[in-house]
Amino acid sequence: MANTQLTPGIAAGRIGADEIAQNFDDLHAPFEPHEAAVASDRCYFCYDAPCITACPTDIDIPLFIRQIQTGTPEAAAKTILEQNILGGMCARVCPTETLCEEACVREMAEGKPVEIGRLQRYATDTLMAQGVHPFTRAASTGKTVAVVGAGPAGLACAHRLAMKGHDVVLYDARPKAGGLNEFGIAAYKSTDEFAAREVDWLLQIGGIEMKLGQRLGSDLDLATLRSTHDAVFLGVGLGGVNALRAKGEDKAGVEDAVSFIADLRQAEDLTNLPVGRNVVVIGGGMTAVDAAVQSKLLGAETVTIAYRRGQDRMSASRYEQDLATSKGVRILTNAQPVAIHGNGTATEVEFEYTADSGQGLTGTGETFRLPADQVFKAIGQTLDGMPDGLTLSGSKIAVTAAGRTSLDDVWAGGDCAEGGDDLTVTAVAEGRDAAEDIHRKLSAG
């Protein structure tokens, strides 16, 4: 008999293929031309616009929106991509509600910002659909740069360097480029293989040699990269996952949220992807929301996000939280896991309520249990095995504003480097800015 939402344990195909396809469709349908015209007409072309300041890549938003208004979405795309070469992905995944759209004067005035993200997607999709790559390389400088990590930071860095005329070798440990664009972002934000298509489009600049399946630390070492290239950029993201430190963490059914999401993103057929009947996600960030929402969309009967602090401390935006609840996910706050129960396989999670005294979090002593066939840990990622010689700041690579590390020919950016908000767009900004700094340094001789 076919599985249903009520099938116990972890099982695939809990709902029909059509329903799954519908669930994982574009979160926001792309704008039709008329919708884009109406949406762009709302922009006031503000002076020294606050949305530009709020964008980590400083896209000239009023200009690109005006270019849409005046019927030149391709020019709008150029305006976007000059600042942010992954403007297409950012249009889909940026938490605009806490970035540009939060700063929009119409958000302040009416609580209804100009829909900057969707307009950005309209412009970039139009250009990319034409197969146009609007940038060309400067004359060759004869310098080579190794970029490690083909996520947003590495891709932005590689593109900018290639544009400046340097030759780039882009290494990644995985068999596919894109980083979390390919393996992390929620499926309904990046449909139709967008991440892979965007990488292919970006590489049209030329001058970037991609070497996949090359892991720094095993296949590559920093000393060799430094001696064979004029500069090295590290954009390796955060490969490790924090431990729960709850009893029973090793039981079957307890998984890293990021691995589950990576499997989901790479699945050929989502009806074959198993999910628990009762799913509990532990954490309060974007990863927790994505794991929870996608579990629900796959057909889990109940999904709960449990966060140890108050709702106002959750790093997932209110918009993301509302998205989760609208899909039927329950958000439980001030509850920390103390144990996972079950005979070899998880069946329940035991929580203790917490109180935040301002000095720190303490358990109240009151506990309760939630049924759980599958438990996802989404309590943060960590830097995984960094080469010697690099100074760390906290748990990340220490860098200056331009991405310089403690080694004078090594730069770093994105999630692996200190600062930033661990967002796609900040990774792009840091990769781009490091490329500019590398270029300045290499040009100086």
Partner: protein, 434 residues
């Protein structure tokens, strides 16, 4: 990439976008910032004769017409020419031109209609190193009451006379700026040409009262309860200006005369339209005053992209390209028969086309009980009103009837050959085709 560099009367500028003579060009601070923002040239705010400077009102100068979301569609002003001392303006013009040799710098002038007045100011303008002058014969308010501006621009003889004085007393190009507050724009253009003008620019602002405050019964903008007509500009005036430009481009006596197009230019597309109707460059005022100097970036990128798309490498490639297609009504092809077509998939069933056609036109759209709207070919005269009022772009289109088919409205076979009113049987003055 298209080359936007333009050569207008031998005056080079990096793009065809100049700022029109108005507040944006009234002082060094503004003009420097405009050049930094990318404007190709400026026509300095109109200067008057030496002497006590002009006095402006000290209350509101502008009135506006808005779209529903307060998008500014038309602006009206009662400002006069520059109210700063002549000497200050001339010093600033010289300084800015010296610092921006690649940008066009035109000085707008309006002095009394006496040769001495022109002889006095022209050498001083010459000294600034500016690239040319523009004669403001257009300002419709205030100055015209003193016998200047539109008061000169409405009398072709004066235009010709003053233009001649300027050509005699000034060595560089003379542009005559025309007022639209006249019945036939070709007359002043011809006068300018006869006086030796190198070019005309148009339009200046149109006489207007934007609104009346129904509580105070004062026209807007209201100065202590009273208002005066002002000059209208902005997007709303573009169609009027385009038509005037086309008349000058077409007329036998003015055809080929360089034109600087002005009036409601807000986007790259507006500019391209002016150029296609014969303008060598364009001037902008209201768009800059509404959106700031940065708006030129969109004009530049848009024009450049469009030129690339069309394969134009230089702006001069398409100057006047649309002029041969502007004709008189009597030459329009009466054998060109179209019918409205409603795309049922695109239709949202609002019924606006029905209201327009049924109430005010030709009863050529049917409406079913379940709100399906269809064109009745036997009634449709192809007026286009349904297309114009339909809120969905491309939902209603005009389809040409193939030659040989029968137009169910007239019962006549659609002829392949072109035929116009001049040969139409109903025309008492028709000349039979040879």
């Amino acid at each position: 990439m298209a080359d936007l560099t333009t050569d207008f009367l031998g005056i080079k500028s990096p793009n065809p976008f100049w700022l029109a003579s108005a507040p944006p060009t009234d002082k060094e601070y503004n003009v420097r910032r405009a050049f930094e923002a990318g404007w190709g040239g400026v026509v300095w705010k109109t200067l008057g004769s030496e002497g006590p400077p002009v006095v402006n009102v000290n209350g509101p100068r502008y009135g506006a017409i808005y779209g529903a979301d307060r998008r500014l569609l038309g602006l009206n002003n009662i400002e006069l020419i520059t109210d700063r001392p002549l000497e200050t303006n001339l010093e600033e013009i010289a300084r800015v031109k010296a610092d921006y040799p690649d940008r066009a710098m035109i000085v707008s002038l309006m002095v009394p209609c006496e040769e001495e007045a022109w002889k006095a100011i022209l050498p001083r303008v010459e000294e600034t190193g500016a690239d040319g002058i523009e004669l403001n014969f257009g300002c419709p308010h205030g100055m015209s009451e003193r016998g200047m501006g539109a008061a000169v621009g409405q009398v072709p003889e004066y235009i010709e006379m003053v233009t001649r004085w300027c050509k005699e007393n000034y060595s560089k190009p003379v542009i005559v700026k025309l007022t639209p507050n006249i019945t036939d724009i070709r007359k002043p253009a011809m006068a300018a040409k006869n006086g030796g003008a190198d070019a005309v620019s148009l339009i200046n602002t149109i006489n207007s009262i934007t609104s009346v405050d129904l509580d105070t019964m004062s026209p807007e903008p209201s100065i202590d309860g009273k208002g005066s007509h002002g000059g209208y500009c902005g997007p709303a005036v573009k169609p009027i200006a385009l038509s005037m430009v086309s008349e000058i481009s077409r007329h036998v006596e003015t055809r080929g005369m360089p034109i600087s197009g002005i009036g409601g230019i807000t986007t790259w597309r507006d500019a391209a339209e002016y150029i296609s109707l014969g303008c060598g460059n364009v001037q902008v005022c209201t768009a800059a005053m509404t959106y700031g100097f940065k708006v030129v970036q969109e004009m530049i990128s848009g024009l450049s992209d469009w030129m690339d798309e069309k394969g134009h490498t230089n702006v001069s490639d398409f100057v006047g390209q649309a002029v041969p297609n502007v004709t008189d009504w009597q030459y329009l092809n009466l054998n060109y028969v179209t019918k409205a077509r409603i795309d049922q998939d695109a239709c949202i069933k609002c019924g606006r086309c029905y209201a327009a056609c049924e109430d005010t036109s030709h009863q050529a759209i049917s409406m079913s009980s379940d709100r399906v709207f269809e064109v009745i070919d036997a009634e449709c005269v192809a007026c286009n009103l349904c297309v114009d009022v339909c809120p969905v772009e491309n939902c209603i289109t005009m389809e040409e009837m193939a030659p040989g088919t029968v137009d169910p409205r007239t019962g006549k076979v659609v002829e392949e050959e072109y035929a116009n009113w001049t040969t139409h049987p109903n025309n008492p003055g028709a000349v039979a085709a040879e």
